[in-house]
Symmetry: C2
Subunit: 202 residues, 2 copies
């Protein structure tokens, strides 16, 4: 039923053409976790999705938790790194930086709907140490946005900028909910426009 071929998220595997078994597992797990929630997905399900039995997973990961942890850590790191890159590449103008951040987030959300879903749904299923690490990365990513928003409007306090950043995330990350309504390009321009309007409304 689920189209596994072209609908794959792009952010997990570095080797896109011949991904290692390990990457295949992470990929399949992300898809399944997004659809049903990590707790509802069995190790056997993940195995079956890559044509292997459940226990084979343990040749590649310490356990189910370790899979989820690595998944969420990678996403968070990728967002933070990507966000910083884009800001740095956008020059000194805060308005341009904001546009770059929005473009990046839209791109990521449209390219990796499963990861976006898992990212904020299954954080609570992580062991406290991993969860803390993920939250730390998330916080730093938020602060990248807050810094840009604060420079854009020097009068606003940081708390308001944080609320604003989360609101823009929510707006952009709504894509999994409206999947299949429009083609990717149209959705991208629509969300970009809305996000910029929302971020700018003071």
């Amino acid at each position: 039923m689920t189209t596994t071929g072209p609908a794959r998220d792009t952010a997990l595997h570095a080797d896109a053409d011949r991904p290692s078994r390990r990457e295949q597992i992470l990929q399949a797990a992300a898809q399944l976790f997004a659809e049903r929630g990590s707790r509802a997905v069995g190790v056997d399900d993940v195995g079956a999705a890559v044509g292997v039995t459940g226990p084979a997973i343990y040749r590649h990961f310490a356990g189910k938790d370790a899979m989820l942890a690595e998944m969420l850590l990678r996403i968070s790191e990728r967002l933070l790194a990507g966000g910083r890159e884009r800001v740095a590449a956008a020059g000194a103008d805060p308005a341009a930086q904001l546009r770059a951040l929005i473009a990046f987030q839209v791109e990521f959300a449209l390219g990796n709907p499963a990861l976006i879903t898992v990212h904020d749904r299954d954080l609570g299923s992580l062991a406290e140490a991993d969860a803390a690490q993920v939250r730390r990365l998330q916080r730093r990513y938020v602060e990248v946005w807050v810094a840009v928003l604060a420079r854009l409007h020097p009068a606003a306090d940081a708390a308001a900028c944080r609320v604003r950043a989360h609101a823009v995330f929510g707006l952009i990350n709504s894509t999994p909910h409206s999947a299949g309504q429009l083609d990717r390009a149209a959705t991208a321009t629509l969300l970009t426009g809305m996000a910029e309007a929302a971020a700018r409304a003071w």
Copy 2:
């Protein structure tokens, strides 16, 4: 640790002052489900939260699934009914109707953060029959928004309006992520402004 007193969501119990045991359970369950996810919360946990052992739950609900189902159904019904009311009360002007819908959603999200969280996180944990019913209600609520957005901009097609509606939901429902940053009133005006700007950006 969790402040159970004043932080209660308001939309679940009709009898606010002396809620029946049944309502207490639903209330506590919503809180716990929001914090940890329905699957991570045991029947014993829910019982303990209202000062009762786990199996006592079965005097009031057919099972854990039934609890979650009733919770999600009530939320969906309340949103749909509330949305329709507000639109009807806002007169014929689509701009006024949109403002009314936004105010309603902001109000609901700020008043019921736990319900908002459970609403889209745990839908997948429902039996298919219940899930279908909830999705039906959600869809009808979305269509209330789509109708208003479509009247506001007759040139736009329904699919784009749907994407737009989901984006505004995502924006407003981000409140659980930015809890504690600002006081409720400030958050409300901020989100309302952003939502209106986003919905209007064409």
